[in-house]
Amino acid sequence: MLRRIGLAAAALLFGAVAVAGCAPSAQTVTIAIHYSLFDETELRVPQGVPITFVLVNEDPIDHEWLIGDDAFHAAHRTGTHAAHGGVPTEVTVPALATVETTITFDEAGTFAYICHLPGHEAYGMVGHLVVEG
């Protein structure tokens, strides 16, 4: 009897997840930063859906999470911003802090997210995100 109830509950849960997966609702992606590296470096998200990125900086130094195309990053490699804020695709993540930003990608494509603090990109703070149409 208990086994039947368990199977039914599992089926209901699976069904709920499946329904949620069919609807274009908001999604959350968590990216941790540890020892100046992103723990997630290859991500795929759907086009036209609000994506909330939860950026968890586990380091005692500041980091950045800037996402965009090649031209965007070329500009930021020589930029002069002391800090970023107010633009969802340009986020400063202070030491040992968590920051959230929500982005809806209207077009499919591949973007990079990079920390442009001096030396951080060369150290490996680079990830890629594919927006699927």
């Binding site: 540890h34 020892y35 100046s36 380091d59 005692p60 130094i61 500041d62 950045e64 930021h76 490699r77 020589t78 930029g79 002069t80 911003h81 002391a82 800090a83 970023h84 400063t92 030491a95 040992l96 920390c115 442009h116 603090l117 001096p118 030396g119 951080h120 990109e121 060369a122 150290y123 703070m125």
Partner: protein, 356 residues
Amino acid sequence: MRRPWLSLMAATAALLVFAAPTLACGGLIGPNGAVNLLRTTTFAGYHDGVEHYVTSFEFAGGGGAFGSITPLPGIPTDVVRGGDWTLQRLILETDPVVEEAFLFRAVAADAAGGEAEVLLETTIDALDITILRGGGDEVGLWAKNHGFRLPPDAPEVLDFYADRSPIFMAAAFDADAAAARGQAVGDGTPVHLTIPTDNPWVPLHILGLGKADGEIVEADVYLLTDDRPEMLPNAGAFGQSAGLLLDHSAPATDGLLADLRSDVGMEWVPDEAWLTKVVVDTTAGDLTYDLAIDASGAGAPSAIDAGFAPFGPDPVPRAPVALYLLLAGLIIVAVPLLMERARGGATGGTPPLAGA
């Protein structure tokens, strides 16, 4: 038997960090950043459980603020201005021709919860010295909040040291103040720390901080011990894989010891000693260790101090799981056999003789 003091070590220049305002976008380190402070020179000695640590910061002109963070093996009881010629005299002893030699060459780093605990603060000339105690996160956060810009590998390197000794020296060098004091280019400010500890070691791994894996790290380490020191990596491995070269190893001359002893704060230098110079010449990616020195006389430098083994209490000796499984298997097989044999013995049975 010589006097009981065992080892005197020269330690590293550490992390140089440019303390200009942090800029978020890349490529904005000031054009004169990490140039003004040419090099950090460090010497440390160990005698009767007390380490004497001498570091010199040299002013190379220009303006701005710079700093360094150095891991220490213990909490200093005193931080004062060092003598004027100790470091130069050691160099003269082993490299009399090379006038531009230094104990440690520049380690330029293009840099950058709770803060570390401040144990001691003092100012020596244009240097603001702070002794900190804390984990890697705490020390890193303190440095960040005090204008140090740590490079991206700093979090991992700070943890590497904090796991073994959570004591660090942060030195902020104000080049403008140095110029205002009339310090000329090339003038050094020696700092002498007195550190009670029973376990000296020379931090080498931190010399690669802020460098790409393939960048060359060059440094000189001077040791003065009452006997030939036991080190890990040991001298037998020097020259090839370890990236270390045993450049000098001989009894210290009377002249050297007398000269060292005559410098300010160096009266503790003994009458006899063994002088060793180790040259570090490797890449930052390969410099993953420190130089451990056995101060007990047992001839067994610590793998933990060398960074070869993780820090922590000695594990309780345990038989491996595989051995337990093997023993369990033997019991499962052997017990029925023994019981069967015992039953046979109880009935008086004996193996039949062949042909019986």
